[in-house]
């Protein structure tokens, strides 16, 4: 669990597991929510670099965190998605509110859509 989350200042980087289904999403969400509650996190960065499988539970996880962190003026970014995951995010429409990046780009500031 420890290595799934990295805190850099007000950024929380979540290393998304290899398979992100309902089972894995519950653990990931609980961990991320605990950290966001306790620390001053303003940006959640989901790194899908190691992720080979995702279903709609992954979309639900990101949507849920986006709703919560938006209330305190925070952002969510999704990076390192492969073609397959990009298709799933596009089908779900979540790419209209959250920037989905195939490349590592989270060092750029203010590149989220819809602010």
């Amino acid at each position: 669990m420890e290595e799934m989350f990295q805190i850099n200042g007000t950024d929380l980087v979540v290393k998304v597991p290899r398979e992100l289904d309902h089972h894995a999403a519950e653990k990931m969400n609980a961990g991320a929510d605990r950290i966001v509650e306790r620390k001053n996190i303003r940006r959640l960065i989901y790194d899908f670099g190691k992720t080979e499988f995702m279903d709609s539970s992954g979309v639900g996880a990101i949507m849920g965190r986006y709703r919560n962190i938006s209330l305190i003026g925070g952002k969510v970014q999704v990076i390192h998605v492969n073609e397959r995951l990009d298709k799933l995010f596009h089908l779900s429409g979540i790419d209209k509110v959250i920037e989905i990046k195939k490349e590592k780009s989270w060092n750029k500031v203010g590149n989220q859509k819809g602010d």
């Binding site: 279903d55 709609s56 949507m63 397959r84």
Partner: protein, 148 residues
């Protein structure tokens, strides 16, 4: 007579079995010589149907989920069965973004993903009697020259 082959599995509706169910169906599918994309499509559809059974059908109580698979020629027939609470309004349940559980981080995209990745999705459900999701997909039906 077309070549057919069938398998079925039954397992507890625990979330730790989601991965097992995906992999079991994917392993059965290999005899059709599927593309990686076809395998991913079927795994996603299985995962969505199983997750629905666990969360919505059985509301996180532990009961049995059954998967029935049949291969006939290049067709995969996949049925996911639970004996849970059933769906009041199937049409509404299948609308993209509709969910009864937004507070549980559900995206409302489960059926939409099944429909996107399978050729046919038919849901048979009655409140109190459970749900059957019947899916069909043509798999590995490439030109013969690419198959050797």
């Amino acid at each position: 007579m077309e070549h057919t082959n069938e398998m079925s599995i039954e397992f507890d509706s625990r979330s730790c079995n989601e991965g097992f169910a995906r992999v079991a169906v994917a392993a059965f599918l290999t005899q059709l010589n599927p593309t990686l994309e076809e395998v991913a499509d079927v795994k996603t559809a299985v995962s969505e149907a199983i997750t629905n059974a666990i969360i919505h059908g059985y509301e996180n109580q532990v009961h049995k989920i059954r998967i029935e698979c049949k291969i006939a020629g290049h067709e995969l027939y996949l049925t996911v069965i639970d004996k849970g609470k059933g769906i009041e309004d199937v049409r509404q349940a299948m609308e993209p973004l509709f969910t009864t559980r937004p507070e549980w981080n559900r995206s409302g995209m489960g059926f939409a993903f099944m429909e996107a990745f399978m050729d046919e999705v038919v849901v048979v459900s009655e409140p109190g009697c459970g749900t059957e999701v019947h899916m069909k997909k043509t798999v590995g039906n490439r030109n013969h020259e690419f198959m050797d």
